[in-house]
Symmetry: C2
Subunit: 444 residues, 2 copies
């Protein structure tokens, strides 16, 4: 049978992984795809003579790749949202199916790209764009196809999870843990994208679009990173029965969609609390399936290549049952083309509801806790648990002050903002109140 001929764009670690997986697992891939999958052309702006191209033709003309007749499907692994987006558009406009691992391109330009894909009747697949080797995209669009997704929550940035795990396991501060992540190759020299939550926001925008059948709304994702998390907060959270994780959360509410990325206290018995190091996990709550959790490697050459090649298998299956004579638009048979549903409004962060962890640095005087509790209760904020006169950690014992640590029950953020302003204004409060959101996944 005629092989599926792949034009591979980019020659970095994921692309090298794709070449390796297609070669090493050629047998099983051909059986599952119905025909062999071979890379006929590789295009990269940078020559890498050390990489074995397994007989593929090499070119530095990246955007020209889609034009070749011996390319049935384009795999875009350049990354970023400039040249890569041109390539994606060009390939789709040429009527070629496209597979990409490019989360920035899909999160920012997914609506436009899918519009071209549907108009051309070809699939645009991006399983590798979220959570590496975990087949979460296919699970949302196929495995959970019978469900209205009510919410999802994911640890979708391995760098942040590695840093928080190191801080938690060894009491390190953020800078030390970041330096270790950089030494091990888990963080870039400029770590902003990962530690400030932008990468996770890209992925959450994609998950939310598929789960809630809405558009790709990267700009609407509320985004907060982990750079201000301290070992003290990790320790107090632990004493109250929580771990601090960097989560992406998307939830359908009567007011609209909540889509937010931020550090979050998670009950320490919850599976997400026990996802450590660079691993990723996504928990999806469907209205029929209930909780379903997916766990695996979120990055790395072979895991990401596994997802790219799974998409190529989908393209092969798609092409096998295409009926060109009828010119049928079967874009919706692809794993990733969300059917058009009404656009849901995104709820601003101060309209979101969650529990809150509060660390309130205050003078060690009688009555401070009661005063704080009163300010909360006047706004109908219930205290879930607290460390009164918490045994202070490290340098906090100087100057005769102690932290008051409180975890509240869920409350709208604007109510909490109002309460925090009042607490911050108390004369006994001697430093900035730290506030971290809490999520109990409906199990409180």
């Amino acid at each position: 049978m005629q092989p599926l001929r792949v034009g591979l764009c980019g020659l970095g670690t994921v692309a090298q992984g794709v070449l390796e997986v297609l070669s090493r697992n050629a047998g099983v891939i051909a059986r599952r795809a119905g025909r062999p999958i071979v890379v006929t052309r590789v295009a990269s702006r940078r020559l890498r003579p050390e990489v074995d191209l397994h007989g593929a033709e090499f070119s530095t003309d990246v955007v020209g790749l889609a034009g070749h007749a011996d390319v049935d499907v384009v795999v875009e692994l350049i990354g970023g949202a400039d040249v890569a987006v041109d390539l994606l558009r060009t390939a789709l406009e040429a009527g070629k199916p496209v597979v990409t691992a490019n989360k920035a391109a899909v999160a920012r330009h997914g609506d436009g790209l899918l519009r071209i894909a549907r108009a051309q009747g070809v699939p645009l697949l991006f399983e590798a764009a979220v959570a590496g080797g975990i087949p979460i995209i296919g699970s949302l669009t196929r495995g959970l196809a019978a469900n209205e997704v009510e919410w999802l929550a994911g640890i979708i940035n391995g760098t942040s999870n590695f840093i928080l795990t190191a801080m938690s396991d060894r009491g390190e501060d953020f800078g030390t843990a970041l330096a270790e992540a950089q030494r091990l190759g888990y963080a870039e020299a400029d770590p902003t994208f990962d530690v400030e939550g932008i990468d996770a926001a890209h992925k959450l925008a994609i998950l939310a679009a598929l789960a809630f059948e809405t558009g790709f709304r990267f700009d609407a994702v509320y985004t907060e990173g982990i750079s201000r998390i301290t070992p003290e907060d990790i320790e107090y959270a632990r004493r109250l029965g929580y771990r601090i994780k960097h989560l992406g959360l998307a939830r359908r509410t009567p007011a609209g969609l909540e889509v937010r990325v931020h550090p979050t206290l998670v009950p320490d018995t919850h599976l997400l609390a026990n996802v450590n190091g660079v691993m990723n996990a996504v928990l999806v709550h469907g209205n029929a399936a209930g909780d379903v959790l997916y766990y695996g490697a979120g990055a790395g050459s072979l895991p990401t290549a596994s997802a790219v090649v799974a998409d190529l298998v989908e393209v092969a299956r798609w092409s096998a049952c295409r009926n060109p004579a009828e010119g049928a638009d079967i874009g919706d048979a692809s794993a990733s083309a969300p059917p058009a549903a009404p656009e849901l409004p995104v709820v601003a962060i101060d309209g979101c509801t969650s529990g809150y962890y509060l660390r309130i640095p205050s003078l060690d005087r009688p009555g401070v806790f009661a005063r704080v509790a009163t300010l909360l209760s006047e706004r109908e904020i219930s205290i879930e648990s607290a460390l009164q006169r918490a045994q202070a950690i490290h340098a906090e014992t100087r100057d005769a002050w102690v932290p008051i640590v409180i975890v509240t029950q869920p409350v709208p953020e604007r109510v909490m903002n109002d309460a925090l302003a009042a607490v911050q204004a108390l004369p006994e409060v001697v430093g900035e109140v730290v506030r971290i959101r809490v999520e109990d996944f409906g199990n409180a």
Copy 2:
């Protein structure tokens, strides 16, 4: 667009769940399937006037269901391996796609049924047969399509997991925990199928067939249940850093496939050790993706219905891209038709390799531990950890004897059998040696 017309066989809890999910989530299902999915006929030997059939025609003629022209796809939810198998054959031979949740039928007759399905060019889908709401079948055949699966391990019987969790959390014995499971509806009046591992063996046979592209080999699965697990063993295992879980394990080895279901010590930090109550989880190790874990509800009306309806969505997509004019056999485009690969031999249990937990009831005399250690070491069995003169639990302190508890490194079972015979013959050993397998998932 013409709806996909479903003939539903059976009217038990899962069938009622299917009716409810198709009705409640009709909008999202139609968008993902490309057209509406409606139940036109329901057949059940038992009348259930209390169930809302949403306008479907009712009949007690179960096997005749497939013959109706207004049935595009048959959903078999009768269960068991007699009438249900006749129905499955009849429907497939009539050229109707079939969706089933029947693990016994697929595990015992899957090869023959898939042969008919392929000959007829129609899909036979059974996502709901394994692990309820967890889309594990689709993940093996699609999401991980690029991988050679090296091994998989699953908690795939919720009843056994509930009982072991209760025994572990509250120190209950097997009988007490079983009675509680029965009271809560998690175990049948005759619990044999669940607690002796037969249900798990059905599911493992299905997972192994798909993961390793081989036949359905229920008869070759080594099967051991949980009825002989004691609170003492759970407690000693805990002191050594393990939880006891009932696992299905399938592994490709140079000698062939290991497929076995038995109680297993799992390191307590491992995610599988933290899957509790009736929940299920399956861990798949692919040679590209690495470890991928799926977690969710393994049973229940709506979760199982979620899987059945996901398969119906697949049937709708399949029918949308079928090309009847060419009569193409596109069985392989279905989610569950494993392409023919050479049959792998199944390794007998005494050829399998694992670590072992041993509890050796012995007289409290000097030198017993050394004698046991010598017998092991003569057979090149290494001790991983041990409780010498373990602090005895409950009644074991009578008669001046103590248990010696040992966890070994992995060793072929026939070597362990030989060692155990020698240990059992020691004059100081005063009772039957308990042996439970240990799995560290390559992380030792």
